[in-house]
Amino acid sequence: MSKRNRLVVTSGIALAALTGALLVSGCGKKKTEGETAAPSAPTSNTPGVTATEIKIGQTMPYSGALAAYGAIGKTEVAFFKMINEKGGINGRKINLISYDDAYTPPKTVELTRKLVEGDGVAFLFGSVGTAANTAVQPYLNEKKIPQLFIATGADKWADPAKNPWTIGWQPSYRTEATIYARYILKEKPDAKVCVLFQNDDFGKDYITGLKDGFGNQYDKFVIKTASYEVTDPTVDSQIVTLQGAGCDTLISAATPKWGAGSIRKVADIGWKPLFFISNVSASITAVMTPAGLDKSTGVITGLYLKDPKDPAMATDPGMMEYRAFMKQYAPAELNPDDANAVFAYGVSLSLVQVLKQAGNDLSRESIMKQAASLSKLTVPVGIPGIEINTSATDFRPFAQMQLGRFNGTSFERFGDVLSAE
């Protein structure tokens, strides 16, 4: 057979097969378990919910560049093991299925669909990462599946009108930056502010928050910004540039590795600005210690959870409860001093509250409604005075923070609880 003939034959076979398949398919499709066919009103026959179990799912970056956040997933899995041993919620055990997406969005989509269609989970809980959650948001909202308490501080999740099935948990980065700006306006009205920020959504959300907080005085206060990429080994060059601009206030919208680098370099060059660091970098184990405890002294951050390294927390009932849980249920490789574990504990308790409020109506609509009906909720690991509040129009569970200054050992809270509203 000549080349051309072979081509024709192959295409012909393919076409024939295709036609055949189409004809066959017209005879009716097979449905498999767990697949929701059309977006109809959920009944009490919610997938994943039985009289004895609620199945939920999440994707976590257990490998890859963000592997440190895997501790969140591990803590949450351990938490629900504890809940189940204590009898579950309203008589139902919680089965949390946690998959590794290595923080690659195509994989997140695939695994989320596997959770929904293959494993048949009731809803998604606490998945990590802005890009990851962005990728699955359309799918979950279209299928009317709650995307609860996702672990990212991007502000765009607080949009009940457009995405009524997606809600975050932690104070958004924008909220945090607004709080810093308000503080500076009040306490240091002649400040010259420099900003170091990670060149992606995370960092840019801070800039937006500062603009919110400073309003039309933004240009008066913020005289220089410098960005860095996650491929930069250090931020030395940027810090030198910022110091050269003559600022006396520095806001470091950085993730742990570069947060530590910024603290170290600022100390090394003998610069002593009023130093704010982003909450995600307010980790003593991952940031302050590598940077140098004495170099980190004086750094300020916004807090909403208790600091596990604070000596005063040794006798705090809430933290003692947390530590008891970690000791008994958490896998050995998890460090109770890890702020990620504290975070996981707090968000898991919030979910428990939602499920308790839902009672026996565990339809997806009901669960989402209860997530949007949290009123003055506090968690034992949260800072006193800070509450979780949600409503049908307010998808920002946390809108408050209290500032804390690092004193060489832990973050000492000062001042009032500040709000971004």
Partner: protein
Amino acid sequence: MQAFFHQLLSGIAIGSIYAAVALALVMIFKATHQVNFAQGELAMFSTYIALTLIHLGVPYPIAFVLTICSSFVIGVAIERLIMRPFRHAPPLTPVIVFIGLLIGINGLAGWQFSPVSQSFPSPFPDHAWYGTTYLSPHEIGMIAVTLIVLGIVFAFFRYTKLGLAMRAAAENPASSRLVGIRVGWMLALGWGLASALGSVAGMMAAPIVSLDPNMMGQILLYAFAAALLGGIDNPWGAPIGGFLIGITENLAGAYVVGEKLKLPLALAVIILVLLFKPSGLFGRTVVVRV
């Protein structure tokens, strides 16, 4: 002017990290004529070994030496056990093996040592007793260590019989065997030395960039650029390439192209060097006879 000077010195400091890693790459290349993509991961793993020793209470200098020795052994072991079976394979196969090593070692580190960033101590004093704040004591120490190591490596290749034997084994294995050089062990030695060099690079870099399994991944590209720029077969050239890259990145980032383009700049350097002078600034041009 002050800021410029500052950026320059800062560039030299970060350049010394690139230089140290580039030196390890050169070592491997000189010994085996291959580029080990997993070099950075080995260095990172060695640094974790050092951290473990320090946490066990071993004083820094002893931990430093022990780490270098254990890295050497690991390097030799990898060559003997993993690379040696592939010595007759077509060039693509070792690339896949390197990739396997890269992924495996990275995973091993994350598993054994936890993926959370950790702090790594510096042997140098914390505060600058010499007044200027342009370079921290650690950065100065790092530059010094890199230069010392560089000198040792150069002397090794130039003035010792062993170094000569290694170079011969890589250049012409067949003839080397004829004069009695044990080529197989020369390769293993090369791997061991490269691994040891990498561990020094890792221990010097960790106090600055925070120790986590992906620590070396970011540095690797810049180190490749440095090694290529200086000449991948020249122990002097590669570190000079490292310093050049460090300085260029900083100055270009601060004054010319902006900090967002530093990585593409390194990429451009690599491509340009490969195109116009693949042997690098200081390497020897190799002519292949048909």
